[in-house]
Amino acid sequence: MSKEKRNLIIAGVLIGAVSVLLVAFGNPKNMGFCIACFIRDIAGATKMHSAAVVQYVRPEIIGLVLGSWIISLATGEFKARGGSSPMLRLVIGAFVMIGALMFLGCPFRMILRLAGGDLNALVALCGFIGGIAVGCFFLAKGFSLGRYHEQASLEGHAFPAINVLLLVLLLAVPSVFAFSEKGPGSMHAAVIISLAAGLVVGILAQRTRLCMVGGIRDIILVKDYTLIFGFIFIFVAALVGNLITGNFKLGFEGQPVAHTAHLWNFLGMFVVGLGSAMLGGCPLRQLILAGEGNSDSALSVVGMFIGAAIAHNFKLVGNATDNGPNTYGKVAVIAIIVILLAVAAAKTFKKEK
């Protein structure tokens, strides 16, 4: 077995275990980590949307970015770079978020939901793989968002610095934020535990290039089974952890922060798969790259933040209590799929001069 595979197995097991522990320490069930949900919670805490049940400054997100920032600075991998279709990346980031909130989870949480016995996540996984497969079709035909260029180092430090500021404000003057009093936003581990968990996972993900999209993409594109090991071992470790802690419940109905509208779970994660394949990585990977100085990825995260606000302000999200999305959400997801396909085709078949 290669060193890369071995490291991914170790990282996967640790990350799966950390995810289960975060639930034991207070995070919502099957939500030890959820990049989409947590960015959405931060958007709520900073009053970009007013959905009262999903407002909290999730220290996990801050930890992921800072973990990647610190380790990439230490290893010399930090490099300020950007300029590869920044506006398109921002828009695609927003689309990925709206797709994820239709399903109620990013690819990371999809694995954790699967490991908790939530079969809706299996439907979503099919959509996710479908979206990645379509993305791979375009990639194989020459899709690219263009080359990035080296930037002045401040450009790369800006996004991690915003996360430092967010952490300082959370610790020093939490009253500037809105915090949920009930619902998923009110359920969280202690700040120090969440932050530490984020740092550990951020460092592991940076070192191993862990990516939920990359694993499936590399198999389809070049039959490379390396990255999928991370995905599989997060699942295995979280499954074992959930069985031990009694959080495993097999079925479709009554799953925590979930709905059973199969078509929309499928299409929501189809959007996430396709959009993430176009961005070059899943939401977690975008956070890690942003920590390494990639301002294109930082902008895709900003896009996710805006997408979360749009999704809640315009009621596009899959609703756990009403069991699924409303008409606005359905129209939005269909429109997003059409736009993503058009952008993918334009960036594949129109040759840049």
């Binding site: 290669s2 890369e4 991998e77 490099k79 770079r81 590869s84 990639l139 194989a140 020459g142 690219s144 080359r147 990035y148 260029h149 080296e150 290039r209 990359g214 993409r217 590399d218 594109l221 070049v222 039959k223 490379d224 390396t226 070059g280 990585g281 294109d296």
Partner: protein, 68 residues
């Protein structure tokens, strides 16, 4: 030996381009990359295709030499 410039390209595009380029250059080629993920992915792909892979540092990145 053919050179494939993948500076400024994020994964998976360097691997996709390498895959295309070795069809026309089965005897081998040099791939230039400037990020670590691309270096690892192209190296892994080269090895999987049965090439001897040698990575040397160059200004701003790495030269990955794939040879039969």
């Amino acid at each position: 030996m053919k050179e494939l410039d993948c500076f400024g390209l994020s994964c998976p595009i360097p691997v996709v381009n390498t895959k295309k380029a070795i069809k026309d250059n089965p005897e081998g080629l040099d791939v230039l990359v400037d990020n670590v993920a691309a270096k690892e992915n192209v190296s892994r792909f080269g090895k999987a295709m049965g090439y001897n892979v040698e990575v040397t540092e160059m200004d701003g990145g790495w030269r990955i030499s794939l040879r039969k």
